[in-house]
Symmetry: C2
Subunit: 158 residues, 2 copies
């Protein structure tokens, strides 16, 4: 565990073992085609997802998201898709449409079912107070998506 | 009817009265905030959708779509959404994710239902041999979407 993350280090270390963060980490590692992040440990890989109170104060209220921020958002929902698939056996694909000003829409579909439908704004402020919170939020989104599939399995398999 | 369109002028004139092209025209007019296209008649407004054989031969096989081409694609599916809503009373919203190379995905959702799920490629070649074909293809896509809503009305209203 790197020292980039603090506060409740034990909770964070536990979060790193959660299925959602495992999926997120493997997805990020898979993007690293040139091994640029080989020397980063898992905490460092996810460090930019963590925006604590102090850090958040420094981010302007209004701002345009940069490509790294958009990637983090896409990876988050990509990991959601992976987790949904591993729990239900149904493939779930994210699709995002974003204005350059950082508002837009994220949809995750499974077959003919919309399992996540989220309107996004202030994407340049996307982040979580801690790794534990990131893991918890990811797990919650996955749970919601899985619940939709359980409710309409025929549509999810259509 | 302008002279930008030829071939079967009567079929084209009829097509301009179809519900799909009425929706498409009103959607394009609505984008024209500065009245730039005020003097264009309806045939001219849609002229760029028409790519006949001769015109198609001049388009390279591989190419990146320009913003006008992307707009035409978005208006096409926007008009589909309008028509779906007017026929079913359920709002349908398009969401598009496109690489700069012109492949990607277009999804139209109604409630929790995916009423259109289309993988796009060669967007720089998006067009139809005539206005009549444009109207026919639009109507077909609308029919497909409406059929999905009729099959799963509860999901479309969820």
């Amino acid at each position: 565990m790197s020292d980039v993350l603090t506060a409740d280090a034990e909770a964070d270390a536990q979060a790193l073992q959660s299925p959602f963060l495992r999926a997120l980490i493997s997805l990020i590692r898979a993007q690293d085609r040139f091994g640029t992040w080989d020397k980063k440990d898992e905490g460092q890989l996810l460090a930019e997802y963590v925006i604590d109170k102090e850090k958040r104060k420094l981010i302007p209220i209004v701002g345009d998201p940069d490509p790294d921020q958009l990637s983090r958002l896409e990876w988050f929902y990509g990991a959601v898709g992976l987790q949904v698939e591993s729990r239900t056996g149904v493939m779930a694909s994210p699709i995002m449409q974003m204005s350059h000003e950082g508002f837009g829409r994220m949809v995750v579909t499974a077959g003919r079912l919309v399992v996540i439908n989220k309107h996004l704004r202030d994407v340049h402020r996307f982040g979580f107070p801690s790794l534990a919170k990131l893991a918890a939020e990811g797990a919650k989104v996955v749970d919601d998506a899985v619940a939709w599939i359980e409710k309409h399995p025929d549509v999810a398999k259509a």
